[in-house]
Structures are given as C-alpha cells and as structure tokens.
Assembly symmetry: C2
Homo-oligomer: 257 residues x 2
Amino acid sequence: MLSQAQKKFLTSLKQKKYRKEHGVFVSEGLKIVRELLQSELEVTGVYGTSEGIDSLQDVLDRAKTVFTISASDLERISNLKTPNQVFAVAKQPQQVCTPHSTDSKLTLALDSIQDPGNLGTIIRTADWFGIRNVLCSHSTADIFSPKVVQASMGSFLRVNVVYTNLADYFSKFYLHTHIFGTFPEGNSIFSEAIPENAFLVIGNESVGISPDLVPFIRRRLTIPGSSHLRSVTGAESLNASVAAGIIMAWATQSDSR
Amino acid sequence: MLSQAQKKFLTSLKQKKYRKEHGVFVSEGLKIVRELLQSELEVTGVYGTSEGIDSLQDVLDRAKTVFTISASDLERISNLKTPNQVFAVAKQPQQVCTPHSTDSKLTLALDSIQDPGNLGTIIRTADWFGIRNVLCSHSTADIFSPKVVQASMGSFLRVNVVYTNLADYFSKFYLHTHIFGTFPEGNSIFSEAIPENAFLVIGNESVGISPDLVPFIRRRLTIPGSSHLRSVTGAESLNASVAAGIIMAWATQSDSR
C-alpha cells in the first residue's frame, strides 16, 4: 500500500516542474516498463498490481525499488484512462546534441510542436526510420510528459531528443548545412532529393515555422495534395505528425530507391 | 441561458447511442462550425458565447436555432478542455458507398481503427490527398464522436465515410479489384505501383488486419524502416495514421511523378 507521501510524490509528476525538480519521468504499461527496465536508464521505482509485478519478474532486478499496490492506488497515480498493471519512475537521461557525428541521414528540428501526441508520434516515426537526433525548440512540448512518453511507445529511449534555441543553433553553421522546412507553398517533396546530414524543420501545428527560423531555411518543401494537383477543395493542412512522417519516409527511403 | 433539459440533451450527445437516436453529431470551435454552416448539412442548433455568435453572424442564417450562452454553460456542454466560443449540433449526413463511381484513385478500408484521433487524422489526410471514400468496419471508432470530428478538422464534411462489413463487401467483387493491405512483412511500398481504383486496407492499431480479411488481400505492403534496411533496432511499428498517410502520399503522388 502506498503512503500519502508516496501518492503525493507520484501524482506530482504529472507536472513538468516536479519532473524537472526530481529529474525523473514516468511511464506506464507492461510493454514500455519492460523496455525501460531493459534500457540503460536508472529506474528508481516500479509500482504495479501483483499480476503486473509477476509478469516483470525476470527484469525487476534493474529497479531500485518495487512496490505491489492495489488497483485503486494504481488508478490514483496513473495518467491513463485505463491503467495497465504497472507504473515506473526513471531518471531523465542526459541528452547531448551531436547531430554531425551520427550515421543518420536526417536530423529533425521541431519548432514549437505543442501537441504531446504529435511529439510522441514524431519520435516514434523517427525511430522507425533510423533518425537518431531530434532537436526541439524550448517551446516544444516536454518529451517527459506522460502523454508524449506513451505516444512514443518506447522510442524516446532510442532517439536523442535535445531542447535548444534553434535560431542560435542554426546560426552557428547554417552555411555548411542543408536546412529544409515545411511550408504551405514550396517545392514538392517528391521532386526533391534530401542530401546527407540535412536538417528538416517541422513548424508549429497552427502557425508553422516561426519567423526567426525562416532565414536559415534553404529549401521550402510542400507535400502536394489534391488542391495543388487538381485544384479541388480539400483539407487546409496535414496533421504535423503525418506530414513529418511522409517527409521522413521520403527522405530516408531515397537511400534504397 | 440553457434550460436543464437542453443541457441534458447536449451533454447526452457525448454518447454514441444518443447521437444515433437523434441522428445528430456535435462540432466545436469557430473554424469548424463556420465550415459546417457553409456545408450542405442541416445545422439544428448553434450555441455560443456572445463573441462567438457575433463572429459567425454572416453565416448564422443557415442554423435552425441560435443560442447565446454563458462561458460556464459552454464549458458544461463542451467536449474540449478549452472550449472555443461555439458549439453546434447538426444532422448526420446519409453516407452511401459508391467507390467505383468516383474519380479518386484509392479507396481506404479501415479495419477496426480504434483511436478517435487516428480515425480523424486519417480522414483529414484522405481529404488532403483527394481520396473521396473511406470504408470502415463496424468495429472502427464512430466518425461522429466529438474527438473524431475535431481531429478530422472539417474533413469529415468532404470525405464519404461508410460503415460496412468489409468481408462481405470485398467478397462481392474482390476478383476484379486490387486490394492492398499493410503488414509487418510485405513488399516495400516504394517498389509497388498502386493501380487505379485500388483499395487499401489499414489494420487495427494493435493486432493489424483481421484474419477474415486476409484472404482478400492481393498484395501485402510494408513501409520499410531502419530495421528492414539496416538491421538496426528501432520502433516496432508506426502509428496507424502515420502509416496510412505515408501510403496515401505514395499512392496518390504516383500520378504526378
């Protein structure tokens, strides 16, 4: 059974300031907690129903502390509508930006992606396509928020996510780098070859790429839809994580074409 | 001010059975309600704060009834965390499946897509790429659920979405049709040409395409990731709406390549 102090601590981690203060994040569900226990991260606590704890026995020696708790306690601390047997607290990894020392074709730069589901999905897609580095503006959603962690489906453990001032970052070496960005009007991605070590800037869901980054962008990309191709009225835009996925697919597959 | 009976009616529409009983759905926010009022659908009621109602004046003659309500009443009936000025109730359109009479290259078939955000995003992406027809298994999320309506960003007004038994549907004419489906192992989409009038089956988020549909699928498609290309450990799968988006992009752009 959890003490009041433990419940208070665990529920406080729904808020970014407490996650930052303690340098931890939470993740939930058998699959992702198992992955966490098999990763290099320090898992400070695992809290689960007896069934949940049982099914993780083979990897639990990696956790500093393990608590068997009631379903109602789990519900209390959970961030999910339907809690899934286990809840874990782990130390936030130190992430360092080394985009130029990688074997990854593309580096993503997320300019104020606000929706946690979109951020998590973009990290998951990056992982799928072997993209190892994702830069985020400070205004992008928190990678350690529970919704981002869940949407990324464990991919946040494999992709290096770094928060930085993108304009400062690009100003240092944009002359030597191909920086692409998505715009409502631009060149069709299907007629562009994305070179090695390129950056791809994905703009905010509503307002797109911020004005202070526009000067750094060498090529404006668009995913042509029916309104471009056939002048038919259609959706005004694509969801940011779908647009990012289509470009990642195109850019990384050009290796294999 | 709303009566108790009105509040009860409007909040009941969060549930599918009441939406079905009354043959209506709700949508929220200035942008989508404006689009609704400019569509051919019958808008039975618009409920908004005075600012919200003011900014829709030019299109409000399409609404059967209009109510100016308090911010707290709006919050009470809203399905959004942050209510956005207006809330509308409209009649569900009658949607009829006519995939073979369209000018759309591809017809989607969604096999038990469960997440409302995924369904709405897939409809929005279909609209972007000019796909006019989407078939849904009866186990797919409800197109008229508030979360689907919001995620589709108005695209549900332009895309024909029909619920049907997909196995029965395919059994009628699969011999004359190219039916593609996404699988963990299949041919790379980038090496496939998708012919005119093809169907693309997108499977459930967890279990993929259901066994009763597998016999109808002529070609198994995969979006190759880094684990296919370079044997690197990565994400186990893509998000369903991202995968659908990548295939729709590829299939519809082959017109313009």
